[in-house]
Symmetry: D2
Subunit: 346 residues, 4 copies
């Protein structure tokens, strides 16, 4: 068994990592850190884990951490991650970092949207952890920058179109909706039950969400030219799930059938991408609790636009599940190991 640590285990990504790792046949969760809950059993913090793990939350030095594990999931906020991750790498550990700190290849862009970067020298070697696009780099990496949840849903949905040059990148509009786990587990009036329940809102309207440069970096990468998009995130009164509705003008004369063939072909070997049947569209409920990304689309002939609907469970394929998928790849394990469960419905 490979010894695995979760750094920052008390958030929603942390508990989901723990849930997956509890049943993983090759990874053994040996450390779970939490400053706030140090000394408490992890199953006191998250009673769903009762009987599945006896780990006590700890607040450890890097040295202590490194004695107890070889593989690390860093589930700490950005800024904290950029200080922590290099210390792990320097002593030979392998890291999947779930923060934004090593996702943006251009440090200037990072510093424009976040803050000064303390370890820019590690950016270049970080693999961007979207296996559907970067599988080979990930396999060889010691540091994987696990993608953001919005970017995962959007890039998987639009990549085939951009790669084949079928849409005009300047016309892309992405309207995304996220479950509330995406807002984290900090005590906050804005995410109290009574503020979110039975409601819906947009936020970061006008192109100001920090996932935007990451989305554009990846869309530009597959497209081969600079892509600038409109992106509006919204908050859904659900726990898990992101659904992105992407609009773009078609730049070629294609049929829905031809596009379907394209998507099926591009993702035919992908274990976690499902193209839904013609005439149907994905829903968050049908990927809940799984590592799947479901994709559907339609052409609006009246406006010559294609509309792509893509959905993931934001804390699985959008965070913890994709992180385990990446760690599997790093370790040369079967990519789907520990992630085989079918989605929960209802």
């Amino acid at each position: 068994m490979l010894r695995v640590a979760i750094i920052g285990a008390s958030g929603y990504t942390g508990v989901e990592l723990a849930r997956i790792l509890c049943n993983h046949p090759e990874f053994e969760l040996t450390v779970a850190t939490s400053r706030q809950y140090a000394g408490k059993p992890l199953s006191d913090v998250f009673p769903n884990l009762l009987g599945k793990t006896d780990l006590i939350c700890e607040n450890l030095t890097i040295e202590e951490l490194c004695e107890q594990a070889d593989l690390f999931f860093a589930a700490v906020p950005h800024k904290t991650a950029m200080d922590l991750v290099p210390q792990l790498l320097r002593v030979g550990k392998k890291v999947v970092d779930l923060s934004a700190d090593f996702r943006l290849r251009d440090v200037a862009v990072y510093e424009e949207w976040y803050q000064e970067h303390s370890s820019p020298e590690f950016i270049a070697e970080a693999a961007y952890g979207l296996p559907e696009l970067y599988r080979e780099q990930i396999k060889k990496a010691r540091l994987v920058a696990n993608p953001g949840c919005y970017p995962t849903s959007i890039v998987l949905g639009l990549a085939p179109l951009l790669q084949k040059g079928l849409i005009d990148p300047a016309t892309i509009v992405v309207d995304s909706k996220s479950g509330t786990t995406g807002a984290g587990r900090s005590a906050n009036v804005g995410t109290l039950f009574c503020e979110v329940h039975d409601g819906f809102k947009a936020y970061k309207v006008g192109g100001t969400h920090r996932h935007l440069p990451e989305i554009e970096q990846e869309l530009s990468g597959v497209s081969g030219k600079q892509v600038t998009i409109s992106f509006t995130p919204h908050l859904l009164p659900i726990s898990r799930g992101i659904l992105s509705t992407s609009y773009a003008s078609l730049s070629a004369d294609v049929t829905e059938d031809a596009l379907r063939d394209l998507y099926l072909e591009m993702y035919k070997d992908e274990p976690f991408v499902r193209i839904v049947p013609a005439g149907t569209f994905p829903t968050t409920q049908h990927v809940r609790g799984s590592n799947f990304c479901d994709i559907g689309f339609a052409i609006d002939k009246r406006t010559n636009r294609i509309i792509v609907v893509s959905t993931i469970d934001n804390i699985v394929k959008g965070a913890a599940g994709q992180a385990v998928q990446n760690m599997n790849l790093i370790c040369g394990l079967e990519e789907t190991m520990g992630l085989e469960g079918a989605p929960f419905f209802p």
Copy 2:
């Protein structure tokens, strides 16, 4: 007191009409029809009305109906409405029709999206019941076609921009999200609690929703030229509320402050339109149970697009509340009568 009837009282629009009318100082609800529940007290069908009305649901002939009321809210499905409404008009009654049957001015468009129209001769005289645009016509009408819920939210959000020619109509993309009351009260697997709860989906993707021609008719009207848009509706796991996020390329060089002045000016005398403070965006929770339409917006300078967020309670301003607003106008009453309540939060 004016005698008012609800035809089709057993749906969500029906119960909301009854709720509003129960407290209306000038309207007296004298008839509530329901084929399915005939003979049952309306408060058995909707126990929230217990003690507020003693009406028994009835299944009446037109003659019986006309003896008992002078003003009619037709809350029946399209097709049923186009047969019913003319019979009421011919005997001198006044009607607010909540179906789609008299909304589209071009009967050919109606017949393309719905079915053959049996009473096209009444279309011309129907006022489109959006008081913010058609107040004077409504006041003089005997038939008001109450707008659809999606169109209400979208047209109020985009009208100022189109009227002033500030956006390129060809670039309009509208991504709308509706609460589940919009799907009606028929028994249906797709709208069971367990199918909708904790989930989210798109439907009628690709420009196939029947509200589309209505939206385009009205946007074209304010714009002065033919407008064709992309429109995708989604289903929210909430009961009440529509939120529409509209995107368009700016065709003029304007600031957010200038736009705010424009919106404030255009809607300054409107009792039910609220422009939310700069830097904030409307949410469905904050209009719940009220006749308000809340509007906010931002400019995305990176893409030169404006994003408008507009929200209503779909069964109030999007149906029953706007219908009462229209009936008030028809009757020469204070437009806001019976609709003064502040929204419910939380």
Copy 3:
């Protein structure tokens, strides 16, 4: 217009008071205090109030407060209230206190369940604000202790049975379920959306909830002897609503019909108590947003127990609505003024 202040306007009780007062024909909301939001428009804190009030949240001294209002709703936590309320009374103001500080007639009981009482001399003159039991006292009071939400639902449900001696008080078991507004608006991990949504739990199991002595005081009052009950509160994933299911052994041989007559008779002049039709049971949805308490019951012949189901909107009849009802009584106004709206469904 009578000048009214809300002290502690930034909680859920505060916003609901403001919502009701905005449309009250005789009360004018002239002050809303909030330490946290001082200087901010109340409609920034609660955007549902936009256009309904221009009040700015203030942090005032008692002197300033007393200059600007004559009637006070104290919506502050217990302990804060017992210091504040006497200062208002001493200068001749009238107060409805929504905290627990003046509800328990026995100061020893108060101090056992809460803490030392700084103003025990005001307890005796406080009327317990359940108009169905104490209407005449309330009319003459200058201080009303507005009941707790759980007690309101339970006492109204059981009073007829205890008053007539039809049940054995020693066998009473009350299982209550409350919406999450009852937990307040403080930032708290336990009431985050993702912790409450799609879940259900019991809390304060074993007779430790602070509403227990209040419930027992009132049940003892109507019963004429000391009543000790089992009471378990639960947290519902809804915003508004309490439903209490009460069980007791019948001590007399009565039929459901006879009990129905008893309930109908006892509450026949009560504007806010509804006995639901035979064979039906109340639901939280059907009182939502209203000041109603709905009551239904059944006899279980197999066990000779009666089961009473009673429900209220916890922030209306369980807090703000009942507070306005009490203030109406204090001021000699129509008891239902400002509270006539029918419940919202769905």
Copy 4:
């Protein structure tokens, strides 16, 4: 691989069985029947299963069924089951029946609460599928009557107390709350999203729910004497989960610590029963998607009652999961096979 069929695959129990069986290492799902969806891929009916199964829903004769599978999960309504199950048994198949038809050992009781029984001769040999009480019988059975969801939660919660004679059976009051999957997947106005969402209600008040004789049969069994209880089910606005709050008078002088030892001892070898830490209480969220039953309790010294809180996922431990647990036992497999996943939170 053992060939397994689901008869009645289009309900919520059906889809959950399919989800579990998709990943079961020894069972291969070879048939899924559905009259309504015959000819449709199961993954069209339940898109969560896309890519996990290629099965087409079929409407088969008994002969065809028996050719294609050896183990059967009967997920059809009661009455249908009693006709179907004997036909499978007669040709040597093994059956876990999820209906009520073989749960009640006394056919007269069955016929009082349901209807005439067409196959009473099979009742005696049916093992009641609660492994915690009947493991040895289940192992030897060819027919297992899978327990109802309410009974599972209640019997596991109260069994230790009754077995040791620590409570007075005549005082038992059980207040249960169930998620809406328990109401099935038939199109029904009462279970539409807008009827259930943001609400809560009691139903079958007064001892009329059909699970009552089953609960009493099992409580009487562990108690050794006839037990008659009060039982009130409620409908929660959640998909999955039952939480039962049980009250009873203590008939012995015991401490919470002693009771904790008792529960821990009785369930120490049970893979799916978890006693939650002292001072905490179980919640539906923490068993969601798993086969666990979580139990907590407190003593109310004021009333000398014990309150037991027990919770399960009603379609896992309350239906599909327990059915697989039973089939594992029948087949001599590891009891936990396919059921090892940790609960989902949030």
